[in-house]
């Protein structure tokens, strides 16, 4: 079947498009049609020529973006309710608004590439192949959780998918991530590691130390700043003299990306992976936004206005990642609005089912208190009171 290239006629997202010659309305059989779509904004480079803003994608990919992000969104909203019902306790940091980063990144890489992040990790875990039951069980402290209920919201990991967590005290994950990259180079794996951090943690000294070493040793490390513009209650301009995080690497090149455009994220990560394998570290700054407060204990409205929050979401401003993909799907006639609604309903059901299943998982056994402190069989004594 001839692949028809659809080109966007103008920069306006809702502009009319050239229809494929076949004139098909719903393309289940043209799932692999390559579409070239322009990102919302061009990339900005620091000491590097940025990639093209025309991103190749397929209807299948766009639909998967939609359903994956809808699932992540639904999971986070459900976590909000569970927290308020006191089934999730302690700290719970939600990712809604930032889904495009997790989803776009996965589209560009494989499970051999590593990802490490801080505590806003539920969706990253899902993106790496974690399932909802493991996620909800962990959030509720049950045995079926990905850390057997012992880690909690901030400590999700998935070794078989090269997901290295899940860290509570920010900053420390970046040297860890560079260490994973070091091992990848050492073992000649041909893989890269993405070390994610926020605009708050971007001011940690250890980041620059790790970056320096990674640059010296040409490690395949990609530092990704998920800039949602607030470090808990402190806006970026109050914490960073230079909030141009993609430039902070100085001698390390950087790219600024619209982090709410999944296609832009995909393009940037693909570009970064190629670069890092050949040359060493690179920084990506994802310009994104979180709808919830810093965590469930923070309303998120004492340091930002409600207008700002709703302004980012509004469809007319097109920043919401899910709405953007929905519009693309509708504009390219990939699926009708009703199908998308069905996907959202299905996703809701999946989440509800997972929660029900997670609730049935028991709390960890008392003996679990002492397991995995050390690796078994190596002579360490455990003293019981």
């Amino acid at each position: 079947m001839a692949a028809a290239l659809l080109r966007r006629a103008s920069t306006s997202p809702s502009a009319c498009l050239l229809r494929p010659l076949s004139g098909r309305l719903f393309s289940s059989s043209s799932d692999e049609t390559v579409l070239s779509i322009e990102t919302s904004v061009p990339f900005t480079g620091h000491k590097i020529e940025p990639p093209s803003r025309m991103v190749d994608t397929t209807p299948k990919e766009l639909l998967s973006f939609f359903s994956d992000m809808a699932l992540m969104r639904r999971m986070e909203i459900a976590a909000d309710s569970l927290y308020k019902a006191k089934l999730i306790r302690g700290f719970c940091h939600l990712y809604d608004g930032q889904e495009a980063v997790a989803v776009g990144m996965e589209a560009a890489i494989t499970k051999a590439d590593g990802i490490i992040t801080a505590y806003r990790d539920h969706c990253t875990f899902l993106g790496r192949g974690g399932n909802l039951v493991q996620a909800f069980s962990e959030l509720m402290g049950r045995q079926a959780g990905c850390s057997n209920g012992k880690g909690g919201s901030m400590h999700f990991y998935k070794k078989d998918a090269s997901f290295y967590g899940g860290h509570g005290i920010v900053g420390a994950q970046v040297p860890l991530g560079c260490g994973v990259a070091f091992a990848q180079k050492y073992n000649k794996e041909g893989a890269v590691t993405f070390a994610l951090y926020g605009d708050g943690a971007a001011n940690q000294g250890q980041l620059f130390e790790a970056l320096n070493i990674s640059a010296l040793w040409d490690l395949p490390a990609i530092l990704v700043c998920e800039n949602n513009h607030y470090g808990m209650g402190t806006a970026e301009w109050r914490a960073a003299k230079s909030p141009a995080y993609y430039k902070r690497g100085d001698y390390v090149p950087g790219l600024k990306v619209d982090g709410m455009d999944a296609l832009a994220v995909k393009q940037a990560c693909k570009f970064a992976k190629e670069y890092a394998l050949a040359n060493g570290p690179i920084i990506l700054e994802m310009d994104t936004y979180r709808y919830h407060g810093h965590s469930m204990s923070d309303p998120g409205s004492t340091y930002r206005t409600r207008d700002e929050i709703s302004g980012v979401r509004q469809v007319s401003r097109e920043r919401d990642p899910i709405e953007r993909v929905r519009k693309l799907i509708l504009a390219h006639d990939i699926a009708p609005a009703s199908e998308l609604k069905d996907i959202e309903k299905e996703v809701r059901k999946q989440v509800d089912d997972a929660i029900a299943q997670a609730k049935e998982s028991p709390m960890p056994d008392a003996s679990e208190l002492f397991t995995n402190v050390y690796v078994k069989g190596y002579g360490a004594e455990v003293i019981y009171l």
Binding site: G90, G141, K150, G233, R238, P364
Partner: protein, 406 residues
Amino acid sequence: MASLQMAALLSAPSTPVPSDRVRLGALRLSASSSSAARNGGALVVRSEAKVSGGGASARGLSLITHAVAEKAAAASSADSKPGHELLLFEALREGLDEEMERDPTVCVMGEDVGHYGGSYKVTKGLATKYGDLRVLDTPIAENSFTGMGIGSAMTGLRPVVEGMNMGFLLLAYNQISNNCGMLHYTSGGQFKIPIVIRGPGGVGRQLGAEHSQRLESYFQSIPGLQMVACSTPYNAKGLMKAAIRSENPVVLFEHVLLYNLKERIPDEEYVLSLEEAEMVRPGEHVTILTYSRMRYHVMQAAKTLVNKGYDPEVIDIRSLKPFDLYTIGNSIKKTHRVLIVEECMRTGGIGASLRSAIIDNFWDYLDAPILCLSSQDVPTPYAGTLENWTVVQPEQIVAAVEQLCK
């Protein structure tokens, strides 16, 4: 130079304070007002206290010799008791506010302490009152801003550095150990570090391993550092003020779960002694030494123990470094049995050091081995049930006392 330690010993409502408790370790205490009126169980002892100037008007530093409610007229009908009621985090704030007003060299630095008001509201409103230069919002850079706090203290400023959670201060360990602790010594006494490092620590409600740490065990070996742990609104305010006035670096340990404790504290100004332990419940059978949140588990166990016919003496040691061996020793000489209840982990915790100190000093007075109940040597798990088993529970305290008193 301000000499500090004005100790106002206003007893807690039901605990009369014997007069021999007025000695405060190495601190001087003038008996100028030992004509202290003893009225309704209240005793105020006034020591010499000079206010460090710097142009600050001492906010009517009215030390009164007896704490009878002079303000009764001003109080509402519902408020016929002296003092005012507040929550622990408010008491900390009150102490901080009073010291900042009194002394312009006192400043606060930490993450989200200013405009946000503090993640536990200890600094709420202070930024509006004192401005951005005295209540400083730092980026997330603990190593650096703690170091900067220490550096500014070397010149004479009195910073109060907040770790949003004590665990974050591990990033600043080098600064705290090497600079804070050592500079006075290595400079031959030239530099003083009158810094206060404070923040919430301890096991909370399922906060996860990294946010449930107890740093008192890590810091206790650092020479030159003083450590105190507050546990009630009354001692929180008093210790905060004392820590700020101290010429030594003081680490003030607060606890995540104690911020909302409510208590009625005096209206008049008071400062507590950093080196002093607090007698919570006098008794005869066994000395229970504890601090911070475990005090409440101990008091809960004490209720059960009293019903079973035991008479435990409960001491909140408050001063984690140095230990108030005077108070502790007096107690051991009376009861001959010691139980330590702490939230630190067993290995290398405060209890371990306290045990050694007691053995060294009071071995002859002991009729039984010293028992120490500590948290398990594991990272704090997230699951609620596991987390409960990590820390000492009242039932274990009761069992330990029964074993001791066999």
